[in-house]
Subunit: 644 residues, 2 copies
């Protein structure tokens, strides 16, 4: 068996052709980014003292800015490229390299630049955008506080309008309201978008964003601004995270980022969006790009790990048949295939989903046809994909490290940085558990207007009162059909496990069944007189399962669409095998649920396990080409065990 | 709901009493170790340059040695304590503190000292043991090579006997034979136990260990010895791992560690153990203590993480019922309970299993009654427990980090070190996948003489030829009984899920069923004429499942025994809840398998999920006491989010 295959290699796969297909419409942007990262100035660094590392990352960010690499998503009139899709592609590709640089760029151009662009108006753009794009004005996105991370509506910082001087007074009332974890704040930031509770006279219309200068030209904090360093983190130590607090700092009235709401000189609050919840979530919604970018970056970081582990598994031999000429390649062992190849398949699946969500975002931000409902669905998709992809990255990097044994533990082989730097991806830009709840809310309310703004009790009441007649019954109807198909005695034998239609049916059936059942549970809790908050909490694990089932199905659909678009029969076949492996290993992982709900017979469930094993053997034959097609240059990958 | 409990707290738990019970017979040793670690000299350090960190760790190791802390397992006549059990308890407890110090001690006293003690004879003990115990003679355990880690029998280093000079010539023939990852080698090691292929004339009797001096009194490498630094690792950077190669280095004949084999001055090889495989595995078997110690250390590292995350979850509030007085504690959310509390229960289960394996090892090493078969079962138990516990640590630390959100990402909160330092535990002292295969081999051969030495094809042939009539049929018989119980229509309703006898039955049934079925598959592969190596590889995932089911059941039995021994009714009740949670969440995680094999009905499977949720709510009421009972002093825990 050893290195020769026991099943004929059916596919002769051209890694370059596959790379070009994966690169998609933004191939040139991706190639440019890879070329830049391959230069010696961007070589991975290890063990730099934090101070030096932070300066190096700033310098590298400026080098990227000088190449026009970081402004692609900003308007042309301010020196940008005017192409949101290109900016996402560029950002994602940066994730093959140093992740501190990636996150520093995310803070500067995505968060600070994004707040300026999307929440501000022309007066803010004129003042700051050009310098921001050139990285000459390092800025912060000061939202999170010590006391509140995920629950942004409960922030404690205040911005009180003083009509006498036409100013806002920014204030940190207590330690819990100190801005925390703010990237760019500890050393480099000169200015910040500060999120604070607006107070206008007796009115408190909720959280708004304000531009607040932090440091003077020498880097000295301005009067009333206190800056602390967050110190060492698990990873990303090239990013200078800090804490900010404000002691009655006065800023002009015009410093309110006033795209969605404004205050007149007379102290009258004005907004086109009357409902304060809805207003808040409209503002927050513009930050969707951050989630799309983090998801894409996590996906590419996982590809680094898989490339290293798969190449190592195709070089390293251990044990083997007695008397055999050589030992057996690691990747020829079943458990090794099982550990890595379903994750490789999922990486491909997530790649196509990421391409899809980025394309939708491009349309939404480029003034394409996009209804409000489309916008809500997009926010939900971005949230769900961010969660599934960042968890995938954590798992894949860990498995890949273990699959490389002791070699994986040496810092030179890159897992040290990959593990440490990506670990917070599951937490920042929305904690994954909160994001999955957001996804489930969308499903349970059928993306009703401003579903995101509903708190848990409101959601439960909404579901109990309204939706059971619409979403749920629609789902139940489909479910009945599904159940009928299922009880046909021949159904198990007649459908091929590699039939993509059948796979999709299984994934969709699960999604709808769980959705209907969680809706029924929420409704019955209310009907039985329980407190809605408590009802929600009792169903929380079920709610999370709803979201996961939905996102896994969306990812499958995106993969299928990506295969359908492909015109090269060999690529199509290779991608098809990966898609089968993604679908069947996803179903296998939840086969307990399918069996519990009578959707799989025990025989069929076992057959899925057998089929996953066979698919691993098939995919193993193209494993080298499949990781090479990720297109990560050797200089960027930089792990000795993965190089020739 | 918020912070008040929705179910009456049934148990008033005394954390101190529980700590004393957990500490068991070696309470004083554990308390001494905790006191030492609480001293300011042992305070956690962050961000030290590697050189300084290595020196600090050496100094701290010498401080421990001066306290008599590290010699407990060595013979009294050489200045040791003569108590193996005490040495394990002390080592485990060290794992609450800096893990580089733990591993440095493991290398010096466990590996180098252990090789000297168990593979050497009086002449070696007289020369080196006393200095070793005092940490005055830093030593190395030079087994792993670049080319071979897990497959020790294939090492490339040679030791050729030269009868003319009565010496062995130690040589590294090629780069692949370079000793790799050797702790203490890069800077401090003065001497090493080197594992090499012995060559005596034309005879090649396999791998043996030799004492080879590495550096002179000034620290300069001796002639013929080349030492390289392994460089930065993911973690454990206070341990100086290095590479060693030997260019025809001559050592006296007496430097062979000759407990199991010797060479006469005339060049005659002599051993009481004729079979070379069996001899090799007898030598390796003496190293079992390392696995027991790593398992115990991993378990305690996981307790650190849980203590931090549970305490944080009982302080941190986010969101909450509208109009409520305060937000809800994280640990009152179902998903938060689900993430942490089954892991807490498993930590308790593993604690009792660890206590059991350490006690058996103590008996075995203290000349107690211990048959050869007992020895083999103990080796298997130690291997399996090391695997399950180190994976548990990886998972628990990751979940705990995520459960602390951004706070968990700050280095001061300890997860940086916990994650990085423990990551290699799944790899060293036997890669977990290899260890699980060893466990399965023991089961498949019913611990036949030297089962460990069988390679995969030999195992397959053995199973096919002999065992199906014994182990398997015995299993099948029990299985039939199980199946009969199972088909009784009332069985599902009659058994309480919290009935410990029923839980044990489910776990045992799974173990025996999988064992029988993998044996049948191996046999049928041979009967159908397939190559045994290939047959084994096809079943490898199934083999791993066999081991996991076995180890999970052993852990359950150890937990039950620990509860049975307990005389305090309140502790007993609290431990009982945890045991229910461990058992049912273990079964829930494999419910797909139970359903596939008709052992659970779909209704019962769903009820298990419900019961796990309820148990999480019960355990949550004692969560604070349950982590406090781990007894980790605040000075050692040192994470600000976990302190008052």
């Amino acid at each position: 068996m050893a290195s020769t295959s026991y099943r004929p290699a059916a596919i002769s796969l051209d890694a370059d052709a596959l790379r070009r297909y994966l690169d998609g419409p933004y191939r040139e942007v991706r190639e440019l980014t890879r070329r830049i990262l391959s230069q010696p100035e961007h070589a991975p660094v290890q063990g730099l003292p934090t101070d030096e590392y932070r300066e190096l990352v700033l310098e590298r960010m400026r080098m990227l800015a000088a190449e026009g690499q970081t402004g692609m998503g900003f308007p042309v009139e301010y020196g940008g490229g005017g192409d949101v899709g290109a900016s996402i592609a560029a950002f994602e590709t940066l994730a093959h390299g140093d992740l501190s640089l990636l996150v520093k760029c995310g803070v500067q151009f995505g968060l600070w630049g994004g707040a300026l662009l999307h929440l501000g108006t022309k007066r803010h753009h004129d003042l700051y955008l050009e310098q921001t794009i050139r990285a000459d004005l390092p800025g912060c996105f000061a939202m999170t506080e010590i006391g509140h991370g995920s629950d942004v509506q409960s922030l404690g910082t205040t911005a009180t309008y003083d009509p006498k001087t036409d100013e806002f007074v920014i204030n940190t009332p207590d330690r819990a309201a100190t801005k925390h974890y703010i990237g760019n704040a500890a050393v480099h930031g000169r200015i910040a978008a500060v999120f604070a509770q607006l107070i206008v006279g007796t009115e408190k219309p909720g959280v708004h964003a304000f531009i607040v200068p932090l440091r003077d030209a020498d880097g000295t904090p301005l009067p009333g601004v206190t800056i602390e360093d967050c110190g060492e983190k698990i990873g990303l130590n090239g990013v200078d995270n800090g804490m900010l607090s404000f002691d009655h700092v006065r800023i002009p009235r015009e410093a309110l980022l006033n795209r969605y709401a404004d205050v007149t000189p007379e102290g009258v609050y004005e907004s086109d969006i009357e409902n304060p919840n809805r207003r808040f979530f409209t503002m927050i919604g513009t930050l969707i790009q951050g989630r799309v970018c983090v998801g894409g970056a996590a996906g590419n970081a996982a590809k680094n790990a898989l490339t290293i582990a798969v190449r190592h598994g195709l070089k390293r031999r251990q044990f083997g048949p007695p008397g055999g000429e050589s030992e057996t390649l690691l990747l020829d062992y079943r458990t090794h295939q099982r550990r890595l190849l379903p994750l490789l398949a999922k990486s491909y699946a997530l790649h196509f989903a990421q391409e899809e969500v980025a394309a939708k975002l491009h349309v939404a931000f480029s003034g394409g046809e996009f209804s409000e409902r489309d916008q809500r669905e997009l926010e939900s998709y971005a949230a769900g994909l961010k969660a599934i992809t960042t968890w995938h990255a954590t798992e894949t990097i860990q498995q890949s490290r273990e699959a490389c044994g002791g070699f994986g533990y040496l810092a030179e082989n890159r897992f040290a940085a990959l593990k440490a730097d990506t670990d917070v991806f599951t937490t920042f830009e929305g904690d994954n558990w909160i994001l999955y709840q957001l996804v489930a809310k969308g499903l349970l309310t059928d993306y009703k207007d401003q579903f995101a703004s509903m708190d848990q009790p409101a959601l439960v009441r909404f579901v109990a009162g309204q939706v059971v007649e619409t979403v749920v019954e629609k789902s139940l109807a489909r479910q009945l059909i599904g159940a009928l198909v299922d009880v046909l005695p021949a159904s198990d034998d007649e459908r091929e496990l590699r039939d993509r239609g059948y796979q999709g049916e299984l994934l969709r059936w699960r999604e709808e069944h769980i959705l209907a059942s969680v809706a029924r549970r929420l409704k019955s809790g209310i009907d039985n007189g329980f407190d809605p908050f408590r009802v929600f909490n009792f169903c929380q694990d079920h709610v999370i399962h709803t979201a996961r089932a939905h996102v896994e199905r969306k990812v499958f659909d995106a993969f299928v669409a990506g295969i359908d678009r492909c015109e090269d029969p060999q690529l199509k076949e290779a991608l098809g095998q990966l898609c089968d492996l993604y679908a069947l290993s996803t179903i296998e992982a939840d086969r307990g649920w399918y069996l519990e709900h009578g959707r799989l017979t025990t025989q069929r469930s076992k057959r899925i396990t057998t089929e996953v094993n066979l698919l691993c053997m098939d995919v193993r034959e193209q494993a080298r080409e499949l990781v090479d097609a990720f297109g990560i240059p050797d200089e960027v990958l930089a792990a000795p065990i993965a190089l020739p």
